[in-house]
Symmetry: C2
């Protein structure tokens, strides 16, 4: 609990101050030494010393001084956010998505590759390979430039990066994604459940930005959850947290069934596409459709209420494919949750759309680097890809 940081000699102090400078400068435009000095609390001369050291290491870069200011023009330094790169990969049912981002988390290149929902393991992995290669090429990078990558997939994932169980794609069970993607890129490869990554993305760039405790609901053809507790992704002891839908009494397994019973769609419609027709009819006021949506919302709310009662989050975020129909789904969902819970959290709709998972994958990669590159214990090392 007390992650003690060992004391040390003077170099440790320099380490900490270098860390402070990097922290102030990351994700911001170039700053002058005076500004850095003010923001870090260090004296001007010390700031200069630290900055020069970081520059010689390759973390900082001098940029053109700002013109047209009073006084002697100040040198300005920026964080070299392009010193390293991270990848976020989303392996979805219909789409493979790869994002390349710099160390500031700025997404620089995006690749979307369609893949048949019926594609087998080999075909899908092949599409991943192609998409990663395409993204690297577009960014002018090689796999060696990637310092960390995260792969998002449906199903249960173990700590080693293997898919332990995939209900949606039976053939997917057992695939060792960390190893597979590890062939393509350098650095650590993390593998994580897609709902969790989407939740993470919401706390980073989405509607949950300032919440410490969040319950994320992935509502779509599959139903899943992601839990943010104390600002951190909660995985559980064996990465099995959030599986509330498995409780027979709550029946998330049944939830979709309600939508599939809908008969108002054109004959021959793929059962997977039915949901869209139900929501559309409900939107137009069709009584039966509204009732179907209400039943679905109730089932969803049961599991959600269990999570809300258990965790008392500040926020519940509705994401996934169905969140596009939040206009007809959110109200019944909210009512059902209000019936059951002691304290009612805010309930909002995701705005990240279908890029949430890949974005969360980028964030997880960045968090991993943060821990290993800019940690108080280790300080800042030279800007090279950390050992795997």
């Amino acid at each position: 609990m007390t992650e003690q940081l060992a004391g040390g000699d003077l170099s440790r102090l320099r380490q900490l101050n270098a860390l402070a400078v990097v922290h102030v400068l990351r994700g911001r435009p170039a700053l002058t030494l005076t500004e850095l000095s003010r923001d870090t609390g260090l004296s001007r001369p010390s700031t200069e010393d630290v900055v020069l050291q970081l520059q010689s290491q390759g973390w900082l870069e001098e940029v053109q001084p700002a013109p047209g200011v009073m006084g002697r023009p100040a040198r300005r330094y920026r964080f070299r956010s392009d010193a390293g790169w991270v990848l976020g990969v989303d392996i979805g049912g219909h789409t493979i998505r790869v994002l390349a981002a710099d160390l500031d988390g700025e997404v620089r290149h995006t690749v979307r590759t369609p893949v048949a929902i019926t594609a087998g393991r080999a075909e899908r992995l092949g599409a991943v390979d192609a998409a990663v290669a395409e993204c690297l090429a577009a960014a002018g990078l090689t796999g060696a430039d990637i310092w960390a990558a995260t792969v998002g997939t449906s199903g249960l994932v173990d700590a080693a990066g293997r898919v332990v169980l995939s209900v949606a794609f039976p053939e997917w069970t057992g695939v060792h994604l960390a190893q597979h993607v590890g062939r393509l890129v350098g650095g650590t490869v993390l593998v994580e459940n897609d709902s969790r990554l989407a939740a993470l993305a919401e706390t980073w760039r989405g509607v949950a930005r300032y919440a410490q405790h969040v319950v994320y609901l992935l509502a779509g053809l599959r139903t899943g959850t992601g839990l943010i507790i104390d600002g951190r992704l909660h995985r559980g002891f064996a990465q099995a947290a959030g599986e509330i839908g498995a409780l027979p009494e709550l029946g998330w397994i049944r939830a979709q069934e309600h939508l599939r019973t809908w008969t108002g769609a054109p004959a021959g419609t793929d059962p997977d596409d039915l949901a869209g027709y139900v929501f559309a009819s409900a939107r137009e006021g069709d009584r039966k459709a509204v009732a179907v949506v209400r039943r679905y919302a109730k089932e969803l709310a049961l599991g959600a209420s269990a999570l809300v009662l258990a965790l008392d989050p500040q926020l519940v975020v509705l994401g996934g494919g169905f969140s596009r129909s939040a206009d007809v789904l959110l109200d019944p969902l909210r009512r059902e949750i209000e019936k059951r819970c002691v304290r009612i959290p805010e309930i909002v709709t995701s705005t990240l759309g279908d890029e949430a998972v890949a974005l969360g994958a980028v964030k997880l990669s960045l968090d991993h680097l943060q821990e290993h590159l800019f940690d108080v214990r280790t300080g800042v090392a030279a800007p090279v890809r950390p050992a795997r």
Copy 2:
């Protein structure tokens, strides 16, 4: 997420090293400078410097050198764990319990005062006052010596230390415990739900010592929970976490009803005492009693399963009054949980008995001090009671 610790000047380094020395020394017998130097990683001369400073501040004390060793006898220093004190108060239905512990968490004095279950607000608070006074007197302390105190109570507690809702004792609702106990002792007064404190105690001195994620079940006349996530007590956004029993579909409200239907007890038995008879009969193999216990276990398991599925803890701890009857309760509980959950955690019985809540209260007080007295950001201040 990145709790950045600002860099700083050389005094900051000394601060960190002083912290390291204190950390090594706390909760251990007196050490020599050489041993301290080895464990902190500092050089001998520096260690001496730091130790001398801490001694002059009052945190460290020299003790008699160990006799009968080769070479020049080394000075030995111990952490002055009696420089400050904390209190743990458990306001139960039948008993008020007050524990006085030193800064190492060593419980030095215990006071137990019986109180009528029917006692009203004033009478109960009076008993608390008396018990606290008695405990202070026994320890030779005054309220001013107490650096932090925690009060455990049933019911929902707000962040200010007020009981927002007490189902078991309606008259208890609204009582401002932090204020009330604050009259008696110095330092911060924290108020927390009793189930949560019991959970905390289990991770400190109980069966959950090395678990990061724990679901604690308080099974007794009331049913409650305490959640430990990432090694920390989880309260939720509005201190309402763990209220899974409120979900109508899981029905913890009904759970006790099963036990109350029991007719095998002597006529005129207080309904609250029925449970003991049921468990006893079940222990002797009475079929009907076994069935009643099984029904109770099933209801309990429903909520427990929801928590386990949501959080995937390493451990489920069964505590509370009924945990004394774990021999007949644990097996059916485990079976019901196994039916419902994806990954089955260890399920064990608490060993702390009815001191768990007070012990957890001590621990919470200590954690509070730890944050304010020995934090990496603040360093170690002089050993005086921190401002409220």
